[in-house]
């Protein structure tokens, strides 16, 4: 009785951690600029394909590809931010949605063109495969690794935001952008850096996700919905909120698929709509 329940909780938590890595960057950038970036998961997908390409074609080891996935996604997002996004910071939600949905369409088609629509395989090192048993519960090693990685990332992010000068600027800009500008903080530059870092994290998440959820060109759409749920339920610009929402979503998704498979994803959409109706600004959102 307890075994399956604990297993579901653990799997759900690991899945939630993956969603957290994928979505935390979007949460912070949305909180800062109110820029609705639906292309966030395209950066994650880019990271995933970078990982696959480096491992398959160039024979890199799994761990060496992860920083490359981070850098590739960060670089691509920085270029796009300079070229396209920054012109639309003051535009309507609709225009931002449309521009970024256009980018998602392009990235999906481009991925299908280059790699085909098949699932991409990835060979993680042998010590990350298999599972360990503890108190009669099976823990998949890769999921343990994922949870560990997510916790480290969370701690680093919180420490960076709370203790560094740059983190203080970002927090100021999230709280009140106009006031931050008035105090002489270069919000545009801070935003550009945060945007690149957030997309880089998404790229890293994309690389980490392949072993668990696979990678095909539909990734940018499928996980977009999950990421948006995490961000909107957690509240914009709140790392703690994203963490809580990702955990909640991961566990309810895995539990729903385990205990009531005939309902499919019905449950999580219901939870999302209900939560948003209760608190439109998200669980931890201020606005």
């Amino acid at each position: 009785m307890l075994g399956p329940l604990a297993g579901v909780l653990f799997d759900g938590f690991a899945y939630g951690m993956l969603l957290f890595i994928l979505s935390v960057g979007l949460s912070v950038t949305l909180g800062m600029m109110n820029f609705v970036n639906l292309a966030h998961c395209s950066f994650a997908m880019l990271g995933g394909y970078v990982t696959v390409t480096l491992m398959d074609r160039l024979g890199w080891s799994f761990f060496a590809t992860l920083p490359a996935a981070f850098l590739a996604a960060a670089a691509a997002s920085a270029v796009l931010e300079r070229l396209l996004f920054r012109r639309l910071y003051r535009a309507s939600d609709l225009d931002q949605c449309l521009l970024t949905i256009g980018l998602v369409f392009m990235s999906v088609a481009a991925a299908a063109y280059v790699y085909g629509t098949v699932q991409q395989p990835v060979q993680v090192p042998s010590y990350l495969r298999g599972s360990v048993s503890w108190l009669g519960i099976n823990f998949a090693v890769y999921r343990l690794f994922l949870v560990g990685a997510a916790l480290v990332i969370t701690l680093v992010l919180i420490a960076a935001l709370e203790t560094t000068r740059f983190g203080a600027q970002v927090r100021a800009a999230v709280d009140n952008q106009r006031m931050a500008r008035g105090l002489g903080i270069n919000v545009d530059a801070a935003f550009a850096i945060t945007f690149a870092l957030g997309s880089g994290l998404a790229g890293l998440g994309g690389g980490l996700a392949i072993e668990m959820v696979g990678l095909d060109p539909a990734f940018a759409f499928t996980y977009l919905v999950y990421v948006l749920i995490v961000v909107s339920v957690g509240g914009l610009g709140s790392i703690g909120g994203s963490f809580a929402a990702a955990t909640l979503l991961g566990i309810s998704d895995v539990a729903g698929k385990y205990y009531a498979p005939q309902l499919g994803s019905f449950l999580i959409y219901l939870v999302m709509v209900g939560l948003l109706m209760w608190r439109p600004a998200g669980l931890f959102g201020k606005r």
């Binding site: 949605c97 256009g102 088609a109 919905v225 914009l236 499919g264 994803s265 019905f266 999302m272």
Partner: protein, 327 residues
């Protein structure tokens, strides 16, 4: 005295706006051309008319009232399934099927409009998206009613008015879709050239100020959302009746996104934007899909980016700007 003069002025302005322009009459006459010029493309023409109707319904809420919806396919799909399911159980008469679909979609629209009217910005986008996904999942799970992922089996549509059969060439289908589109268009045109339509544009421009000058934005939004939902239901029912098939795809996010793209491409908030967008989009898809179906969405994406960056009001807005320059 002055008040009545102002009222007369306002009345006259509405009349001026609502006058039929020669270009409009020419456009609707041209819509009859496919019957003689391209008879082999009548099925495509009927698809265009249906999509145009769907885009027109989105235009009412997005273009006029400023409600961004990523889940408008919910009403389209509900209408499509309603028309399909009643025909499966022996009620294959098309016109009453349309009415049933419209009332069901309108009812769902009315219920959800209470939610829609309360939210804005990201929460609104996410709620419309969530409601659309919910209905998609519900239809997927309720396979005893909808056929699930295999699509609805056994749709039997009776001939239109018991006389005109839906043939393989799409003659009846196009005539029927075009007629329904035209009638709905007249209703839409009447709505937006009324004081109610003006109030909607006011809500789009400034949702805080409208209640302050005495126009209750909540009840206006509920009304227009219900109307738009019923129209989308009619479009869905038309698709079922002219093709005799219903698949889960009618409720998909892809369909919601497509209709948004079509409307923006043509130009939101300008009546003909959705229709023009549907023509361009579906004709282009028909021409290019044979070449490379996977790559089709790349060009759609590029087009979207270009429209947002360079043509903020869509193709019609761009044409209007050019026209003004040379006038």
């Amino acid at each position: 005295m002055a008040a009545t003069a102002r009222a007369a002025d306002a009345h006259r302005q509405f009349e001026l706006q609502a006058r039929w322009r020669p270009a409009e009459i020419a456009f609707w006459l041209a819509a009859l051309l496919p019957f003689v010029v391209t008879p082999s493309y009548l099925s495509l023409a009927s698809q265009i008319a249906i999509t145009a109707l769907f885009a027109l319904s989105l235009d009412l809420i997005l273009g006029y009232a400023g409600i961004v919806s990523l889940g408008h396919a919910a009403f389209f799909g509900l209408g499509a399934y309603a028309a399909g399911i009643v025909s499966k159980y022996g009620w294959g008469e098309p016109l009453s099927g349309l009415a049933i679909a419209a009332s069901l979609a309108g009812l769902l629209g009315y219920i959800t409009s209470f939610i829609i009217a309360r939210f804005r910005h990201l929460a609104l986008i996410m709620i419309t998206l969530g409601l659309g996904l919910l209905l998609h999942e519900a239809a997927n799970s309720a396979s005893w009613l909808t056929g699930g992922a295999d699509g609805l089996q056994g749709v039997r549509i009776r001939p239109l008015l018991e006389t005109f059969r839906f043939d393989l060439y799409g003659r009846t289908a196009y005539a029927y879709s075009l007629l329904v589109l035209f009638v709905t268009f007249l209703v839409t045109r009447r709505i937006i050239h009324s004081p109610f339509g003006l109030a909607l544009r006011g809500i789009r421009e400034n949702p805080v100020r409208m209640p302050a000058i005495g126009a209750p934005s909540g009840s206006h939004i509920r009304k227009i959302y219900t109307i738009a939902a019923a129209m989308a239901g009619v479009a869905g029912a038309l698709l079922t009746q002219t093709t005799s098939t219903v698949s889960l795809e009618v409720l998909s996010f892809q369909r919601s996104a497509d209709v948004l793209v079509i409307l923006i491409l043509g130009g939101a908030g300008r009546l003909y934007g959705g229709i023009l967008g549907a023509i361009i989009y579906l004709v282009a898809r028909d021409q290019f899909s044979g070449v490379n179906p996977q790559f089709w969405y790349f060009w759609i994406g590029l087009l979207l980016v270009a429209v947002v960056m360079f043509l903020p009001n869509g193709i019609l807005g761009g044409l209007g700007a050019i026209y003004k320059k040379f006038k």
